[in-house]
């Protein structure tokens, strides 16, 4: 009867909940109209820095629309009118002195369908860099490599940087789009159903990538795959019919939501 073995395990910390971080996006009483239709109804939500926030909800609930408010992509659609405030890093992005070019540089976006330019892999990223004044070749090459590494794509494409981005597989194309978006080092990365057109393996890769990227970027992801929201996000907002039903820690939403509608949706009873 000697000493009991105690060497097997080091002490691990017992809680791993997302740390509280400062707010970066503050949406206050925001409504959006398509003509006379009110598509977003008085949304108020605060998104914190360097964590992943997921927008979930059934199709047509307004989650993508809200996402596109954050980089003013809705400006491109005719007859859209927005009421309320949306502050990013303290600035009202719908203020009259806002330069959407600068805004979109700081708030990058990845789309549902991968949309690399019909240019080479290198050029896809270089295009974004040139827009914002990077012209030196060595600097360009460096950023291209760094972005592709961050997007976990470098090893797969380093030998064919000058071949077409469209020659890549769907998942690779989407990672190229992510690399392109992060090349200009935005503060926020918006992802509009980034994996909905991909097979499970490619989806898993994108999800792993998101978990890596959140170390450096604030990520807002729209997804209709609830499990995806559960896997990658720290906070989840549930939308229904243009309204924000519930916004809370993802674990809370998926284990003990406060609203009946949320529970019904995450358990698959409707939607």
């Amino acid at each position: 009867m000697g000493e009991a073995p105690v060497t097997r395990a080091p002490q691990v910390k017992t809680t791993e909940l997302a740390a509280e971080t400062p707010a970066i996006v503050e949406i206050t009483d925001l409504s959006l109209f398509y003509g006379a239709t009110k598509a977003l109804k008085n949304i108020s939500v605060t998104i914190s820095e360097k964590i992943v926030t997921a927008f979930i909800g059934p199709s047509g609930c307004g989650k993508s629309t809200l996402l596109r408010c954050l980089n003013r992509m809705n400006d491109l659609i005719d007859n859209v009118r927005i009421e309320g405030k949306c502050h990013i890093a303290g600035q009202d992005i719908y203020g009259h002195d806002i330069d959407t070019i600068e805004l979109r540089k700081r708030v990058g976006m990845v789309f549902q369908r991968s949309n690399p330019f019909p240019k080479s892999i290198h050029e896809n990223i270089a295009y974004a860099l040139r827009l914002h004044g990077t012209n030196s070749k060595s600097e360009m090459d460096e950023i291209v490599e760094r972005s592709l590494r961050q997007a976990a794509l470098w090893d797969e494409v380093k030998d064919r940087l000058h071949t077409s981005g469209l020659g890549l597989s769907g998942g690779q194309q989407q990672r190229l789009c992510i690399a392109r978006a992060i090349a200009i080092q935005p503060e926020i990365l918006l992802m509009d159903e980034p994996a909905s057109a991909l097979d499970p393996i490619a989806t898993a890769k994108i999800e792993e990538l998101i978990l890596e990227l959140k170390k450096d970027y604030t990520i807002v992801i729209v997804t209709h795959n609830m499990q995806q929201a559960a896997r990658v996000s720290d906070y989840t907002a549930f939308f229904y019919m243009g309204q924000l039903v519930e916004f809370d820690r993802t674990l809370k939403i998926f284990t003990n939501p406060s609203q009946r509608q949320t529970e019904d949706y995450v358990t698959g009873r409707f939607g």
Partner: protein
């Protein structure tokens, strides 16, 4: 592909092993307190039990969040559920150690009834089972885990034997009844610890072989 989820699972496993070490220490300390008539050590065991309680609650939380957020399947799912069950067993082991420690404090107030032979033996056996089942968990060695299960019988036998011995003590000398009952409780607690160890071993077999070997008469049957 390395998944972030793998890190979560590794952390869960690690935490379970830490908990296992705490449980082992609790048991061995409680017996040590008995043998050395060390009251402060016994009190420490009682005090430290809340560590195991915290671990259990925390492991449950982790398990639930891993299930809720990652929807684990196949071996991942077994790992999470098994970890939750093992944590419950370990917490019970801690409770039994507390029971032992309480009795030790009582016993230490009086002269020793008899030289302790069977109880340390039981403790060594039970702790051996606990250690081997946890090792089997770490080493992914289901054969080792299977081998643990029948060892429970030996502890049971000693328990019964000690029981008879203590009964005869009580018949002979009524002044020994209190102490004999304390020792009986300690013996019973050790027997329970061995049961929990066997349970853990069964869970480990389920984890690595996906085969449920509980409540079977012939636990060695590999079919």
């Amino acid at each position: 592909m390395q998944r972030h989820f793998d890190t979560d699972l590794a952390n869960l496993k690690q935490q379970l092993l830490t908990m296992g070490s705490h449980a082992e220490i609790a048991v061995s300390n409680s017996i040590k307190a008995l043998l050395d008539r060390d009251e402060p050590l016994a009190r420490k065991v009682i005090q430290d039990d809340n560590i195991l309680d915290t671990f259990e609650v925390d492991l449950d939380d982790r398990g639930i969040s891993l299930i809720a957020l990652n929807a684990p399947i196949a071996s991942d799912l077994r790992l999470v559920t098994v970890a939750m069950k093992i944590s419950r067993d370990l917490e019970r082991v801690g409770d039994e150690a507390t029971t032992i420690a309480r009795r030790v404090i009582e016993l230490n107030a009086e002269p020793q009834l008899k030289p302790y032979v069977d109880i340390p033996r039981m403790a060594t056996l039970a702790l051996g089972m606990l250690k081997d089942s946890l090792d089997a968990f770490v080493e992914k060695d289901s054969a080792k885990a299977r081998a643990v299960v029948p060892r429970d019988k030996e502890v049971d036998n000693i328990n019964r034997q000690l029981h008879r011995e203590l009964v005869s003590f009580m018949i002979e000398r009524p002044t020994s009844i209190t102490r004999a009952l304390h020792l009986m409780t300690i013996s019973k607690a050790l027997e329970r610890i061995a049961d929990h160890a066997a349970n853990i071993a069964e869970e480990v077999v389920f984890l690595y072989e996906s085969r449920d070997i509980r409540h079977q008469k012939t636990t060695n049957d590999p079919t």
